[in-house]
């Protein structure tokens, strides 16, 4: 804040950053960077969507409830995903089926 009470662009960004940090701390997340990204399973690349059994992402996800299997298909519970990207690292599909997506649209794809 400036002494005049006027919000600069810089302050706005810092403020948002701080809020993100607080939010991350509140939800017990290690880094702010990861707090901004979430895993998304792309069905067209995912082996489970081809009726092949594959549950690697679910098995290796360290966050309880962040990856769930619905009728054999993996799905990310966005509110629980910490963005650690382990699921992306272990995905064995020929084209990686896990996309890390920014929480805000401007965050884009990591």
């Amino acid at each position: 804040m400036t002494p005049h009470g006027k919000l600069t662009r810089r302050d706005l960004l810092v403020g948002r950053f701080r809020r993100a940090v607080e939010h991350a701390r509140a939800s017990n997340v290690a880094s702010t960077e990861s707090a901004q990204t979430k895993a998304v399973i792309q069905g067209r690349q995912c082996l489970a969507y081809r009726n092949l059994v594959c549950t690697t992402c679910y098995e290796r996800c360290p966050e309880a409830g962040a990856l769930v299997i619905d009728s054999g298909l993996p799905r990310v519970a966005a509110d629980k995903c910490t963005g650690c990207a382990i699921c992306r690292d272990v995905c064995p599909a020929p084209v990686n089926a896990v996309l890390m997506v920014g929480a805000k649209a401007e965050g884009g794809v990591r």
């Binding site: 082996l47 969507y49 092949l52 059994v53 290796r60 599909a93 020929p94 084209v95």
Partner: protein, 837 residues
């Protein structure tokens, strides 16, 4: 290199997109009565040449399209023209191209000098091998594989059983399929399934007997999951000792104790007879009854169960084909296995057993039973194979589309190379036996050997061969040299410390290993021969449903690596030059002579000439003449070139076409069945065209948990890795997805012992100790008191700990039942590095 790698990733990505598109189309193709419009078979990538090949991995036998760019495999796509997989592949299949490009490929022949492996030329290495074989004589053994190609198996067979008149040739399929073979032989009189994969598209009920196809035969299982996803009603029943990814898809899970399958199958037959729901017409026309001994030879006309078991224990069994018994005797024997009694023996609730018996009692229902290692790696493997065939025969659920027993193989050519070419110590090509004089005579004539040249005594089966190798010569170890090709016994044999690693202390014993990567087997080798693999060589494979599949060499092997088949033939040539009499045919020529159209010998044993002709075609078409006797007619090589495999018997039609057979012994499909017979088991052991329904009693496993070792340890494969992981652990995606071995434990067992998920524990069996992390919420959950450890990890070779007890008929070891102890060790020793999770 980096660029190549990036290119590879990019191309692989494109091929994956094709795979996805085609799998969706496959579903539509089945649902719609008309074929979908033709789609491109493979992605159109500039500079990439495509050709077909069967996948290198499991027994399903999917076809892949292999894309080659600048002399390297650059892309893989599921083959849409293949009936087996209709364009789909599993996670291993999509990455199969990368097996060729691990960083540590073996590229130079190595010969041990002064205790150290040193590089050698091929001429030197072949000479060392040939001289050693000369010196060894009858102490030489050859150990090949269900992953060897048909021509490789045939060449090795002709060299060892023909030229050397030495029957010590075995294949690793002994560890995997031998009980299925003895099961088929003693039931139908001839090996290999009568059914085919089409049954999975037509069945109403699918029963898994100790089988986890969701992980081990994924593309096959996806055919069923695909039908369920389209809304079809298929009942899946899983009988097993642990809940797996297959169980997740099942409607019923019958959790049994080890060897419970013996009691369950007997119980089903007891129920069918007691409720009078067996198929009387089918049994009357097509079945006989068999057992190990015939009680009619004694004073007692009808023996009850316990008296019979005591009788056989006293008298011993009467060979693989047993003795005929009456239906009345059969009924009396199986009457012991009431649902209540079976519940005590197998641990499966009586009401579940009654439910399963009702499934078989319904004549309209189409039922497929599927099994693989759970029933084959079993000290009563032959027996339980007989029993499951028996349930289908007795209930008449046999030989209609979607209705019959389906034995799966684990390896891509366990059927083609081992069971059909007969690369087992007692067998000859085409279902012949070394013990039968007319069969040897046929081979001697075909191979231009003097009459009486071949040895009538079967050689050593796998476990015995390696036991003799690892026994000091002066203590009776009469195998002193083994040549291993296309398999990794150092990690895959049971009780490897006893059966393989003990060789390290025996300097007069000699191991020759043809391999593609350094393995537990090459570690003890005296000669290492670098081999070409998969599409670096021509090949022919035969899958689980009698389908023979051919492919061409597409890329050059790295460095000095050469075909296994060439290695065998080069040694055969060197033996001929060294004057070994067995290599000279009755016409005075080398046994493997190939002549050109002018009658001049082609010097194809010289590597530079090897691919000037198609040696595979010569060997395969020579082998083909052996396949007619047991009606296992394979198609000529040139016909196989044009198709995605054909299922034998392949018969030539009046117009010169070659037609495959989907259901054997079934009128209308199998041309060898006489008109009006319906079904005809034309190789019946009782010579009356009938199949044998066996009585086989329940008995306990060879090793049971006791106070000291209070767990039952099972081993097996995982989805991502192929056997000992020598290929798949070098594929980064697969290695990352499944980086190391672990021990699966029931969460309640872990909790009781205060063991947490991921904690490293010591697993001890009477054979040794190993440290592994516990996985309690993993891919499968064993029942209480059970453990599961996969065998792919070379840094945790669980077969150091497994039992080497074998089935009495098939000589196949039981890897699934070792007594084990779990100890917490975190407080006194540093844990093993790495591993999962």
């Amino acid at each position: 290199m980096e660029l190549e790698r990036r290119e590879f990733v990019k191309l692989a990505a494109m091929s994956a997109a094709v795979g996805a598109a085609s799998s969706m189309n496959a579903g539509k193709a089945c649902a719609a009565p008309v074929d979908p419009p033709p789609a491109p078979d493979r992605p159109d990538i500039p500079g990439v040449q495509w050709d077909k090949a069967p996948c290198r991995f499991c027994g399903v036998g999917c076809h892949v399209q292999v894309g080659v760019k600048d002399g390297k495999v650059a892309a893989i796509a599921g083959d849409r023209q293949a009936d087996v997989n209709k364009g789909l592949l599993c996670v291993k299949g999509y990455h199969v191209g990368m097996i060729l490009y691990g960083e540590d490929r073996l590229t130079t022949p190595m010969v041990k000098r002064n205790g150290k492996l040193e590089p050698a030329t091929w001429d030197e290495a072949i000479d060392v091998v040939a001289r050693r074989i000369m010196k060894s004589g009858k102490k030489f053994g050859m150990y090949i594989s269900g992953q060897s190609t048909v021509p490789e198996g045939y060449a090795a067979q002709k060299l060892v059983k023909g030229a050397l008149a030495n029957n010590h040739i075995e294949a690793n399929a002994r560890l995997c399929m031998a009980s299925a073979v003895t099961g088929f032989l003693s039931t139908y009189g001839v090996d290999e399934p009568a059914s085919c994969y089409d049954d999975l598209d037509a069945c109403d009920t699918l029963i898994m007997w100790g089988n986890n196809p969701a992980e081990m035969h994924p593309v096959l299982f996806s055919r069923v999951v695909d039908r369920i996803a389209r809304g079809e009603k298929i009942e899946i029943i899983d009988i097993g000792t642990r809940r797996t990814r297959t169980t997740d898809q099942a409607d019923h899970y019958l959790e049994m104790r080890p060897h419970g399958d013996l009691a369950i199958a007997n119980c089903l037959m007891q129920q069918l007879i007691e409720n009078d729901t067996y198929d009387k017409a089918f049994v009357e026309k097509h079945c006989n009854f068999r057992a190990d001994q015939d009680p009619r030879e004694t004073a007692e006309a009808l023996m009850d169960h316990d008296a019979y078991v005591a009788h056989v224990a006293k008298k011993g069994h009467s060979g693989l084909f047993g003795k005929p018994i009456t239906f009345a005797q059969f009924k009396k024997l199986v009457s012991y296995y009431t649902p209540e009694k079976t519940e005590q023996l197998a641990g499966v609730p009586a009401e579940q057993l009654r439910m399963l018996a009702k499934v078989f009692a319904d004549p309209k229902r189409r039922i497929v039973s599927m099994w693989c290692m759970g029933m084959n790696q079993h000290t009563a493997g032959t027996a339980v194979n007989n029993l499951v065939h028996g349930v289908h025969l007795l209930s008449g659920h046999w030989g209609r589309p979607g209705d019959g027993p389906q034995s799966l193989t684990g390896q891509p050519s366990a059927c083609g190379t081992v069971r059909e070419v007969g690369t087992l110590a007692h067998a000859l090509p085409g279902g012949r036996l070394v013990a039968k004089q007319p069969h040897r005579a046929f081979c001697e004539k075909a191979w231009k050997l003097p009459a009486g040249h071949m040895n009538p005594k079967p050689g050593y089966h796998t476990v015995k061969m390696f036991e003799q190798l690892c026994t000091p010569t002066d203590a009776g170890g009469d195998i002193d040299t083994v040549w291993v090709q296309v398999t990794n016994p150092g990690q895959s044999l049971p009780n490897t410390k006893k059966l393989y690693k003990a060789k390290a202390d025996l300097p007069d014993k000699f191991l020759i290993v043809s391999e593609v990567y350094p393995t537990a087997s090459t570690e003890l080798a005296d000669v290492v021969l670098p081999a070409a693999m998969w599409v670096e060589k021509n090949g022919v494979y035969g899958n689980s449903e009698r389908r023979t599949q051919q492919w061409f060499k597409m890329v050059d092997p790295p460095g000095d690596a050469r075909d296994d088949c060439w290695q065998t033939l080069a040694v055969a040539r060197r033996l001929f030059e060294l004057g070994h009499p067995g290599l000279r045919g009755t016409d005075g020529k080398w046994l493997f002579t190939i002549e050109d159209e002018n009658g001049d010998e082609i010097e194809y044993w010289k590597w530079e000439n090897y691919y000037k002709i198609n040696v595979d075609k010569h060997l395969f078409d020579e082998y083909r003449q052996f396949t007619f006797m047991k009606h296992k007619n394979v198609a000529p090589y040139d016909v196989l070139v044009k198709v995605r495999g054909l299922r034998w018997p392949v018969v030539e039609t009046a117009d010169g076409e070659f037609r495959e057979t989907r259901w054997r012994f079934v009128e209308g499909d199998d041309v060898y069945v006489e008109k009006g017979r319906g079904f005809q088991f034309y190789h019946s052991t009782s010579k009356d065209d009938r199949a044998q329904v066996w009585f086989r009693p329940h008995h306990q496993p060879a090793e049971l948990p006791d106070e000291r070792h209070d767990f039952m340890l099972t081993t097996g494969r995982v989805l991502e890795h192929w056997h000992t992981g020598t290929m798949t652990m070098r594929i980064p995606q697969l290695r990352r997805a499944m980086p190391g071995a672990y021990v699966e434990m029931n969460p309640d067992d872990a909790r009781e012992r205060g063991i947490s998920n991921g904690e490293v524990v010591a697993i001890t069996t009477p054979r040794g100790e190993m440290r592994l992390p516990v996985w309690t919420n993993g891919r499968a959950t064993p029942q209480r008191g059970h453990l599961f450890i996969p065998f792919f990890d070379e840094s945790a070779q669980i077969n150091d700990l497994t039992l080497d007890a074998i089935d009495p008929f098939s000589k196949q070891p039981d890897y699934k039942k070792s007594a084990a102890k779990v100890t917490r060790i975190s407080e006194f020793a540093p844990p093993r590095q790495g591993g999962n999770p």
